[in-house]
């Protein structure tokens, strides 16, 4: 079962065939989604009726392309807005957490670390409803006592951002901590020794060292936020992010516009992935 142990050729071929089948299984759904975005038919299904870009640029019903669908364009904007906020907040808090866990020793550190990991093992739906319930009761209490309105605590973009932030921060913390752990503190000491201030040393020495991890976690956070469904579903208000809009459309019946959106999503992911890969290469 390793190259140095002889195995019958038949078994080897079966194994290889299985691996090939597995990768076909992995690629199949994504391939069909992409292919049917270019089918000149009102259903994303066979038969193939010829190549078209109408599902991207079309203006006449039923061939209204993505770029002319207001609802989808607006939800992409909403998703981007949410993702930028979530990613920014998660990276900032994640960096603080990394410094806290790597550089400081304090009572209850182990407990705090475990609490920090908890969002990983709480199902997204539960995170969503717990935040929904909690913020709604806070809003109720505040409204009862003050008589003012607190719409920010009701389902809407703020809750969506908080909900996604609540678990994406854990990933950012783990990625950045892992990198900070590899940092040689004597580099910072050398900077202090050469006359830098404490902040100057962190700003000029430590943060540049952390940059690859910060960029990586920002990219992953953007992606996770863009893709998130479960938590968002429970917290969404009138402005729906892309996944929610797509889900609603999908329940009504599938149209190739959704394929076209998917292709755009895949392209955005690929671009993000490529960018992050390029960045890691450059840093090396």
């Amino acid at each position: 079962m390793i190259p140095t142990v002889p195995q019958p050729a038949f078994a080897k071929w079966c194994y290889r065939a299985y691996v090939v089948m597995f990768f076909i299984f992995l690629a199949l759904p994504l391939t069909v989604v992409c292919v049917f975005a270019f089918n000149n038919s009102v259903f994303p299904a066979l038969p193939w009726k010829g190549f078209t870009l109408a599902w991207f640029f079309g203006t006449e019903a039923p061939f209204i392309g993505v770029f002319n669908e207001r609802a989808i364009l607006r939800s992409i904007g909403t998703s981007a807005f949410v993702a930028l906020w979530v990613s920014g907040l998660a990276v900032i808090v994640g960096t603080c957490n990394a410094f806290l866990f790597v550089r400081h020793d304090f009572r209850g550190k182990a407990l705090l670390y475990m609490l920090m990991l908890l969002p990983l093992i709480i199902p997204g739906v539960i995170l969503g409803i717990s935040i929904l319930v909690f913020f709604s009761s806070v809003a109720n209490a505040l409204e009862d006592t003050t008589g003012l309105w607190f719409d920010g605590l009701r389902p809407g973009l703020i809750l969506v951002i908080l909900g996604q932030f609540s678990f994406i921060t854990t990933f950012a913390t783990l990625v950045i901590s892992a990198r900070l752990q590899k940092f040689d503190p004597s580099l910072e000491e050398a900077a202090l020794n050469l006359g830098a201030s404490k902040w100057g040393a962190i700003w000029q020495i430590t943060l540049p060292f952390l940059l690859p991890a910060i960029v990586a976690s920002a990219v992953v956070s953007l992606l996770m936020s863009f893709e998130n469904f479960n938590t968002t579903l429970m917290l969404v208000g009138s402005d729906a992010p892309l996944t929610i809009t797509m889900f609603d459309k999908l329940k009504q019946g599938s149209t190739p516009v959704l394929n076209a959106v998917s292709v755009l999503l895949i392209m955005i992911s690929a671009a993000l992935g490529f960018f992050s890969l390029l960045f890691q290469k450059m840093k090396r």
Binding site: M1, P3, T4, V5, Q7, V19, L26, L28, P29, L30, V32, V33, F36, A45, L46, P47, I92, V93, C96, N97, F99, L100, H104, L112, M114, L115, M116, L117, L118, L120, I121, I122, P123, V125, L127, I129, I131, V133, F134, F135, G163, F165, S166, T169, F171, A178, K198, L223, F226, E227, F229, L233, M234, T243, M246, L250, S254, N259, L265, I266
Partner: protein
């Protein structure tokens, strides 16, 4: 011996994490529990009690759906392990250098694409007018269109597809750390392939197997999209029930109780998994 400035720095670092964990994790979950034990007795009038939990156990539809979700999730986890292990082993032990990196990255691709897109792909493939149905007709294996969507098998396919990456990645990591000479020693001492697998490879891969299984089980249990879209209206997934109570019925008290039960089940499984492998949560989850 800490100076005042470093004390200040420490509290500045402590503030965001406390704010995050207390406001977004701890208090909401306490709140969830409090709501789950309040019973509505009149308009805006509540009383503490376990009535919502009683409703859950009294209504077969609820607890059966709960049990069904748990059992299907266990099955999906087992299936993912069985399908994913040979792939992880192949990547970790039978490939080298560039091939290895490429195959490993290819396993990651589903993660880069939204779950919605993946599920949509399966819908296009499996439905009556879908690609597979057409393909089978083309081959002459079936006479008319076949509906492969909206059944438990479709849900299973979707769950396995969505979570297999979370099984393969930790497995590749642990199998990679298994020294080839241990496998060779096993053969050299007269072990058959099966014996070497059972006695050397699998015990070594146990940490990866446990963390993979925990993650896959949780993802399946908490999944909403896949069962609803691939299983159809009658998919009877517990997250769907929570959604119904919260958004459609607006019965937050019962919904909270449901949520808490789901949380309890997933925590129980994580706890059992960690006990089984004798590792801490930090060790198992802390390496992403």
């Amino acid at each position: 011996m800490a100076s005042d400035t470093s004390r200040l720095g420490f509290y500045l670092l402590l503030a965001p994490i406390l704010l995050w964990l207390v406001v977004l994790i701890i208090l909401p979950h306490i709140g969830l529990f409090v709501v789950s034990i309040s019973e509505k007795i009149g308009p805006r009038e509540y009383e503490t009690g376990f009535g919502n939990y009683a409703t859950f156990f009294g209504e077969p539809l609820y607890w059966r759906t709960f049990a069904r979700t748990a059992i299907m999730s266990i099955a999906a986890t087992a299936l993912t392990l069985i399908l994913g292990f040979p792939i992880a082993y192949y990547i970790a032990k039978l490939t080298r250098g560039r091939t290895k990196t490429t195959l490993f990255l290819m396993c990651m691709i589903p993660f880069w694409v939204s779950e919605l897109v993946r599920t949509f792909g399966w819908m296009i493939l499996l439905r009556e007018t879908g690609v597979l149905s057409n393909f089978l007709q083309y081959l002459g294996l079936v006479n008319g269109p076949v509906e492969m969507l909206y059944n438990d098998a479709a849900i299973m396919v979707g769950l396995v597809y969505t979570s297999i990456l979370f099984m393969v990645v930790p497995l590749v990591t642990t199998l990679d750390s298994l020294d080839d000479s241990l496998i060779e020693a096993g053969y050299d001492l007269g072990g058959s392939s099966a014996a070497v697998m059972r006695e050397i490879v699998i015990p070594h891969a146990m940490p990866g197997i446990v963390s993979g299984c925990i993650v896959v089980f949780m993802l399946s249990l908490g999944n909403y999209l896949t069962p609803i879209l691939l299983g159809g209206k009658d998919s009877l997934w517990f997250t769907g029930m929570i959604y119904t109570q919260f958004i459609t019925r607006f019965n937050w008290e019962l919904g909270s109780a449901f949520g808490f039960l789901l949380l309890a089940l997933s925590s129980l499984v994580v706890f059992l998994g960690l006990k089984l492998s004798g590792r801490s949560l930090s060790e198992t989850m802390g390496r992403s």
